[in-house]
Symmetry: C2
Subunit: 400 residues, 2 copies
């Protein structure tokens, strides 16, 4: 698929980027990739729009010149070609609000390079946020386009739903694209949205104005921003981001022997958690016996977080934490993250200790399927540095 208009090659494709909040921590400039700063990321159950992490693959597309004439096209196999304006979406379909975390598959990639080099943006723990997304259910739009409600029962019908963005590569004209399984798109309880509002405001340019996909419980790469085309198909998206990126491999696979077709595209995210306070290398006063520790936890597939354990001795012993949840989530549809905190008891320093005591704080979460995080980054290392969900470790020191 090509974007609708090729740019003049002499034109700077980055000249129309929107302004960003200065507190965002840039990981790349063109395209903009910037994360919520560590101490802020889990400060509130709902992440403010202006400090929500930005993960762009391409230049931000221009705003529609005439918003009233903006159109979403829906079509594909066993679907009727349909065009919908934003007004159509807002008036012909039921408005739904879903609280959902969106996490970049590369969140926490920076820990992976301590094992072996990886390629990708050097995200710390802030490529995740939690927002109230409002819009219409993708299911309703697909039904409106004539997709059979029992399409999933058919073995020879379409198996995937593709999303195409308005953001295009300035050199090739290729637009960002991804797909999800049709079971997910059509499920009435999976809450896949075509969202036009984020926390009660129209989407900003960085977050996909005027319309984006939000696939709850799935890595951010499938929640396509600036969506303009939705296509049902027997085939998975053949986009770079579906076929040659956002896949996980064994630690033994490297760039010389990787077979991209051997691994499935990442959809549901695994269980994860991170410590957002204190920051790494924090120094606390000699004699401190307890410190407040806090962070977030989340799991894909709507699986709720049932427990977060925290350790002040590198994982040898564990302490409990208090969980804070978005109220009103339905069973099996826990799309929001869980925040957690604990007043953590520090280990007693040895009587003969000299100099600062090094303390390794660790957290790990367990979800409703009793999946829990793997202990080491080495075991989940992969060449592209995705879905790092190892125990999260933060080193601090006590005394001086």
């Amino acid at each position: 698929y090509k974007g609708p208009e090729r740019k003049d090659p002499a034109e700077d494709p980055w000249k129309n980027e929107p302004a960003r909040h200065p507190a965002l921590v840039a990981r790349s400039n063109n395209p903009c990739n910037a994360e919520t700063p560590g101490p802020v990321v889990a400060a509130n159950l709902i992440t403010s729009n202006d400090i929500f992490y930005v993960r762009n693959h391409l230049p931000v597309p221009p705003e529609p010149k005439d918003p009233a004439r903006w159109q979403l096209s829906v079509g594909g196999e066993e679907a009727r070609s349909t065009s919908l304006t934003l007004e159509d979406l807002k008036t012909k379909f039921k408005k739904t609000t879903v609280t959902a975390a969106v996490e970049c598959a590369g969140n926490r990639r920076n820990e992976m390079k301590t094992v072996k080099p990886v390629r990708g943006l050097d995200w710390d723990t802030g490529a995740i946020g939690n927002a109230n997304w409002s819009g219409v259910k993708l299911r309703d739009v697909l039904l409106h386009a004539g997709v059979d409600p029992d399409v999933c029962d058919s073995l020879d019908g379409p198996r995937h739903v593709h999303f195409l963005g308005a953001d295009s590569d300035p050199l090739t004209g290729n637009v960002y694209a991804a797909s999800i399984p049709i079971e997910l798109a059509m499920a009435s309880n999976k809450d896949v949205l075509l969202a036009y509002e984020m926390n009660g405001e129209p989407l900003s340019r960085d977050h996909g104005a005027p319309l984006r996909v939000v696939v709850p419980g799935v890595v951010g790469a499938r929640s396509v921003k600036w969506v303009t085309q939705i296509v049902t198909s027997r085939e998975e998206s053949d986009s770079h981001w579906q076929q040659h990126d956002y896949k996980g491999f064994s630690p033994s696979v490297d760039w010389n022997n990787v077979d991209w077709s051997s691994a499935p595209a990442i959809q549901e995210a695994p269980v994860t958690s991170a410590i957002t306070a204190p920051s790494a290398n924090t120094q606390v006063e000699q004699g401190t016996t307890t410190i407040p520790v806090r962070g977030y936890a989340w799991s894909g597939g709507g699986r709720d977080i049932v427990r977060v354990d925290v350790s002040a001795d590198g994982g040898a012993t564990w302490q409990g934490t208090q969980l804070h949840k978005v109220p009103g989530q339905k069973p099996g549809r826990a799309w929001a993250w869980t925040l957690w905190e604990a007043e953590v008891i520090l280990p007693t320093p040895p009587a003969d200790s000299k100099g600062p005591q090094q303390v390794c704080l660790v957290c790990k979460a367990t979800d409703a399927s009793y999946n829990t995080q793997p202990d080491s980054v080495a075991g989940v290392w992969n060449l592209r540095g995705v879905v790092n969900n190892a125990w999260h470790r933060v080193g601090i020191s006590v005394g001086n």
Copy 2:
């Protein structure tokens, strides 16, 4: 709930136990708990009925005296009290066959005691099997009993479906019971069955004759055998096995401070795998450079296994494996296990090595949500020794 008939206290409650295959490895006799022997457990994609592990909590109930008069009672909140004979189930409902693994939540408990003592049967890797289960969908039976197909949308309707077995405690008369969320019971794509056949044969006494529940993707404890009553309810089952067993806790929780109400009953199982050959302590000849390694992998919730990694150096480096799958599983409904095998390259012994070389084989699986197994048993240790899904390790030696 009480069983229908209290036994004469003078009568031996164990005198009517069925005969069992001599190859089964007993972990307790009364009640019978016996596992499939290691080398056999993953020998075939389908486990034979006679060597399928047996996990009984109570004496095996007597066979119905008059099978034609055996009845299943269905009722509860927002359901019509209904009785169904086996003939009713076989003739009034569509027969469905589902290939599903059933795994005891205590499988691989024996590794946990290497960390700290645990209470429970000392299962090795054989408390799991994979069979073709035939019967009727629980959903269809609930609809037949008048349960609203949209019951899950209602916030004040029944939230759970209880299963009561005919097996009762000889002292208290309490029957085995458990419940599952009504979302699972009513979902058309979750394939919860009331099964009367196992691998094409009527259920044997040990496996729940004449009727059992099979909840695919969920720990075995909810797949109630000898089921005679199904009850919808706003409340979860208050049975011992739902409220005071089959729950997971942090390694820091012990029998002095456990609060059973603080953890949810285990339903979906986490991703797991095990090496079934070679056996622990196998000695292979000096000079051997590769050995065949095989085992099983499985994950709850219908999440397929996408990869199994195996290591011959304790997890420092990993090798790929070949996966063997039951054909025809539907997307997101991978209820069967996956078998795997590899010809594993052994580490080169150091030139100056004397005596046998100790080799630690390890396996770990990744599922479709990119959840993977935690590295250490210590991190998932819990007082009841359930859902141990740490990397599985088998020590062998090369040479002598």
